[in-house]
C-alpha cells in the first residue's frame, strides 16, 4: 500500500464523513464546520492529484473565505431572529431516493465504461503551468473572472445594505 493509496482512503473517509455531517446535522453552525472539514479534505485530494496550487486556493478561498462569510450570515440571522437556528429537513425519503438514483446513474457510467489509462508521470510543476496558462491563452477569461467577482460583491453589498 503506497502512500498515495493510504492518503486517498484517509481523505475519502474524511470527505464523505464530513459531507454526511453537512447534510445531516440539525445544527446549522455545526454543518458549516463540517463543510469546512469537507473543503479541507477536498484540498487534500487536490494534493494527492499533485495540484498544490489548487490546494492553496481551496484553503484560502473556500475554507477561509466562504466559510467565514457563511458564519457571518448565520450569526447575523441568528442575531436578527434572536434564537439559534435549528435545521429541519423535508421529504427526506424523496431526497434520499433521488440522490441515490443519481449516484447509481453516475456510478453505472463509471463502472460500465472502460478503465482509463493509468496516471501519466508528471515531470513539471503544475503551479508554473497554471501561472503560464493564466497569463497566456486564458488571460481574457481570467480578467473577466475578476470583473465577475467585483460585480458579484457589489451586488451582494447592494442587496444586503440596510435601508436608511
Amino acid at each position: 500500500m503506497t502512500a498515495e493509496v493510504l492518503g486517498f482512503w484517509v481523505m475519502a473517509v474524511v470527505l464523505v464523513g464530513a459531507s454526511l455531517g453537512v447534510v445531516l446535522t440539525p445544527n446549522l453552525f455545526h454543518a458549516v464546520l463540517y463543510l469546512a472539514a469537507a473543503l479541507v479534505a477536498t484540498g487534500g485530494v487536490f494534493l494527492l492529484l499533485q495540484a498544490a496550487f489548487l490546494f492553496g486556493v481551496q484553503l484560502l478561498l473556500y475554507a477561509g473565505g466562504v466559510v467565514t462569510i457563511v458564519v457571518f450570515a448565520i450569526m447575523l440571522t441568528e442575531r436578527l431572529v434572536g434564537q439559534s437556528i435549528v435545521q429541519t429537513s423535508r421529504h427526506i425519503v424523496n431526497g434520499a431516493v433521488l440522490a441515490v438514483a443519481v449516484f447509481v446513474g453516475i456510478a453505472g457510467f463509471l463502472v460500465g465504461g472502460e478503465p482509463a489509462a493509468p496516471r501519466p508521470p508528471w515531470s513539471g510543476d503544475a503551479t508554473v503551468d497554471i501561472g503560464r496558462a493564466l497569463v497566456g491563452p486564458y488571460a481574457v477569461p481570467f480578467e473577466l473572472l475578476g470583473v465577475l467577482l467585483v460585480v458579484a460583491l457589489l451586488g451582494a453589498l447592494y442587496f444586503a445594505r440596510t435601508e436608511d
Binding site: 433521488l98 443519481v102 457510467f109
Partner: protein, 617 residues
C-alpha cells in the same frame, strides 16, 4: 372523295374568332349592341362565302389521300403527342356551309328579334354567337379526337351561356345549369374514351385511326368499351335517351339560340362525331346495334312527349330529340350517309321551324299553342314558311325530310333491325301528327281571344320575315335537289309509299282531331290513358333526375353537415376540454417552491442518464 383547301378552311375558322375577340375586347363596340351585331354578321357572311369557296374549289382525290392538314402540338419524347389542324373533307365542308349559313341567318334574325334588348346585353349576345360559330366550325374541322373534344366543350360552354342569356330569370339559369350538368355526364365518358383510345393506339388523329381500322389493328380487347365511352359523349350532346332531358329545358334561351344551337348545329355534334368516327364504330357491331336501338327508342319516346306538349317551343324541342334519334338510328344501322343527309336537311328546316315559332311568339306574346289560332289568315307570309318546314319534317314529297327519312328507314330495314324500324315508323307517324297538330292549333281554327286583340299592332319585322322566307326557299331547293338526284337502290319499292302514308296518316289524324274536331282531344287522350298520363309527366325521367340530383346533393350536404357538427366540432371540443383539464392538472406542478423545481431538474437528469445509457449500448 372531295377535299378542300386547308388555308380557306382556316379562314372560315378565323373569321368568327376575330369577331369574337373584337367584340369581347373592345368595350365600346360591345356596349353599342347593334354595332357588335353588324361586326358579327359581317364576319359570318364572309365565313359563309369562304365556306362556299372551300366547297367549290374542292378537288376530287382518291380515297387514300389524307384530307387533314395538321401541326404538331404537345411535344413529347417521340414527336408530338397530339396534333391540331383542319380536316377538310366532304363531311366537314357540308357542315361548314350548314353552320355558317344557319349562323348568319340566325344572327340576322336576332337583330330584329332582340330589338328591345339593352345594347350591352345585345353585344354580349353577339360575342357569344361569334364564339359559338368559331367553336362549332372548329369542331367540324377537327382532324382528331383531342381537338374535337376541346371544341366540343367550347360549344357546350356557349350553349350554357346562351341558354342562360337571360340569367336573371331563375328558370333560364336553372336550365343552363341542367344542360351543362347532363351533357357533362356524357362528356366524362367521351374524354375517358379518347384518352383510353390514345393509350391503346398512341394517336388522336382520325386519318391514322381510320388506317389502323382498315387493317383491323385497334380491334383489340377493350376497344368496344372505349367506343362505348366515346358514344356516351354523343348521347349527352345529341340528347339521346336517357340524357335527353336537358334539351327541352334549354328552350329557356332566346328562340334564335334554340334554332341555331339546340336544333340545327350543336346538338347534332354527337351525330356528326359518330358519323366522322364511323369507321371506328363499325369495328364494334354490337355497339352499332345498341346505337340503333337507343336512337329508335329516343325517336319514339320524344315523339310521344311532343304530342302532349302545349308549349310550341317544347314541341319543337322534343321533335329535335326525336329527329336526333332518327339520325343516331341511321348511324347505328350502318348508313351514316343517310344520317348525315338528314342532319343537314333537318338543320335547315328545323331552324326554319324555330325561327317561325319565334315570329309567332313575337306576334302573340305567348308560347301556349292553345292560346293561338287562326294566324294563317292574318299572316300568310309567316304561315307559309312554317307550313313548308312542317311538311318537310313530316316527310312529304318532294321536301327533303321525305327523302332523308326514307333513306334512314331503308337503311334500318336493310340491316334487319325490325324492332327499331317499327319504332322509327311509329315515330315518323307521330312526327307528322304532332307537327300537323301544332300547325292546326297555331295557324288555323278560331282566333283565340287573347291573340286577337291587337290585330294591327304588329307588323312582322323585316329581317325575321326575310330570314324565314330564305330558309323556306332553301328547304324547297334542298328537297328538289334530292328529288332530282334520287337514287333509292337499296330500298324496297313499297317503302316510299309507306313513308308517305305515315306522313299523311299523321296529318289526317291531326286534322280530324284538331281541325274538324271530329274526335275530341280529351277523349283521344282518355283512350290512350296511361300512355298519355306518362307522356305528360315526361315518363318521370325529369322527376327522376331531379330527385336523384337533389337526393345526392342533399344527402351529401347532410353528411358533410353531420361530420362538421359532430365529428369536427366534437373533436375540437374534446381537445379543448382536455387541454383545459390538463392545464389545470399541470398547474399543480408549479408549487413556487425552489426545491420542487430542483426535483424536476434531478428527474430530468435521471431521464437523460437512462437515455444515454440506453444509447450507449
Amino acid at each position: 372523295m372531295r377535299i378542300g383547301s386547308p388555308a380557306l378552311a382556316l379562314l372560315v375558322l378565323a373569321l368568327p374568332f376575330a369577331s369574337f375577340v373584337l367584340i369581347a375586347l373592345v368595350r365600346p363596340l360591345r356596349r353599342a349592341g347593334r354595332a357588335a351585331g353588324f361586326v358579327s354578321i359581317g364576319c359570318m357572311a364572309a365565313a359563309l362565302a369562304a365556306s362556299f369557296a372551300v366547297w367549290t374549289r374542292g378537288m376530287i382525290v382518291d380515297g387514300g389521300h389524307n384530307p387533314s392538314r395538321t401541326w404538331g402540338w404537345l411535344p413529347g419524347d417521340g414527336g408530338p403527342m397530339a396534333t391540331v389542324g383542319v380536316m377538310v373533307d366532304g363531311l366537314s365542308m357540308m357542315m361548314l356551309m350548314l353552320v355558317t349559313l344557319v349562323s348568319l341567318l340566325v344572327q340576322l334574325y336576332s337583330l330584329d328579334y332582340l330589338h328591345d334588348e339593352p345594347p350591352p346585353s345585345l353585344g354580349r349576345y353577339y360575342a357569344y354567337h361569334s364564339l359559338f360559330a368559331f367553336s362549332m366550325l372548329g369542331l367540324v374541322l377537327s382532324p382528331g379526337f383531342l381537338q374535337m373534344f376541346m371544341f366540343w366543350e367550347l360549344v357546350g360552354l356557349c350553349s350554357y351561356l346562351l341558354i342562360g342569356f337571360w340569367y336573371d330569370k331563375p328558370s333560364a339559369a336553372r336550365a343552363a345549369v341542367k344542360a351543362f350538368w347532363i351533357t357533362k355526364l356524357g362528356d366524362l365518358g367521351f374524354v375517358a374514351g379518347i384518352v383510353m383510345l390514345w393509350v391503346q393506339t398512341g394517336t388522336f388523329d382520325f386519318f391514322e385511326l381510320f388506317q389502323m381500322a382498315n387493317s383491323g389493328a385497334p380491334a383489340a380487347a377493350g376497344f368496344s368499351v372505349i367506343m362505348f365511352l366515346i358514344y356516351l359523349g354523343a348521347v349527352g350532346k345529341s340528347a339521346q335517351f336517357p340524357l335527353h332531358v336537358w334539351l327541352p329545358d334549354a328552350m329557356e334561351g332566346p328562340t334564335p339560340v334554340s334554332a341555331l344551337i339546340h336544333a340545327a348545329t350543336m346538338v347534332t355534334a354527337g351525330v356528326f362525331m359518330v358519323t366522322r368516327a364511323f369507321p371506328l364504330f363499325a369495328l364494334v357491331p354490337d355497339l352499332l346495334t345498341l346505337i340503333a336501338y337507343v336512337g329508335a327508342f329516343t325517336a319514339l319516346l320524344a315523339a310521344t312527349m311532343a304530342c302532349v306538349e302545349s308549349d310550341i317551343k317544347r314541341v319543337l324541342a322534343y321533335s329535335t330529340v326525336s329527329q336526333l334519334g332518327f339520325m343516331m338510328a341511321a348511324a347505328g344501322a350502318g348508313v351514316p350517309e343517310a344520317s348525315f343527309r338528314h342532319l343537314i336537311a333537318h338543320g335547315v328546316f328545323k331552324a326554319l321551324l324555330f325561327l317561325g315559332a319565334g315570329v309567332v311568339i313575337h306576334l302573340v306574346h305567348t308560347n301556349d299553342m292553345w292560346r293561338m289560332g287562326g294566324l294563317f289568315r292574318r299572316f300568310p307570309w309567316v304561315g307559309a314558311p312554317f307550313l313548308i318546314a312542317t311538311l318537310a319534317l313530316a316527310g312529304v314529297w318532294p321536301l327533303p325530310g321525305f327523302f332523308t327519312k326514307e333513306a334512314i328507314l331503308a337503311g334500318v330495314l336493310a340491316e334487319g333491325l325490325t324492332v327499331p324500324f317499327a319504332m322509327l315508323a311509329l315515330g315518323a307517324f307521330l312526327t307528322a301528327f304532332y307537327m300537323a297538330r301544332a300547325v292546326f292549333l297555331v295557324f288555323f281554327g278560331h282566333p283565340h281571344a287573347a291573340a286577337a286583340h291587337d290585330d294591327h299592332g304588329h307588323p312582322v319585322p323585316f329581317l325575321m320575315d326575310a330570314v324565314c322566307r330564305a330558309l323556306a326557299v332553301l328547304t324547297v331547293a334542298l328537297g328538289l335537289s334530292h328529288a332530282l338526284s334520287a337514287h333509292h337502290d337499296a330500298a324496297p319499292g313499297w317503302l316510299p309509299w309507306f313513308s308517305l302514308a305515315l306522313a299523311f296518316g299523321g296529318i289526317a289524324l291531326a286534322w280530324a282531331v284538331y281541325q274538324r274536331r271530329a274526335v275530341d282531344p280529351a277523349r283521344l287522350s282518355a283512350a290512350l290513358g296511361p300512355l298519355d298520363f306518362m307522356a305528360r309527366r315526361r315518363y318521370g325521367l325529369d322527376a327522376l333526375y331531379a330527385g336523384v340530383y337533389r337526393g345526392l346533393l342533399l344527402g351529401f350536404s347532410r353528411l358533410v353537415g353531420w361530420i362538421d357538427r359532430y365529428l369536427v366540432d366534437g373533436l375540437l371540443n374534446v381537445f379543448s376540454a382536455w387541454t383545459l383539464r390538463a392545464g389545470d392538472a399541470a398547474r399543480m406542478v408549479q408549487t413556487g417552491q425552489p426545491q420542487d423545481y430542483v426535483y424536476g431538474v434531478t428527474v430530468g437528469v435521471l431521464v437523460l442518464m437512462i437515455c444515454a445509457q440506453w444509447l450507449w449500448q
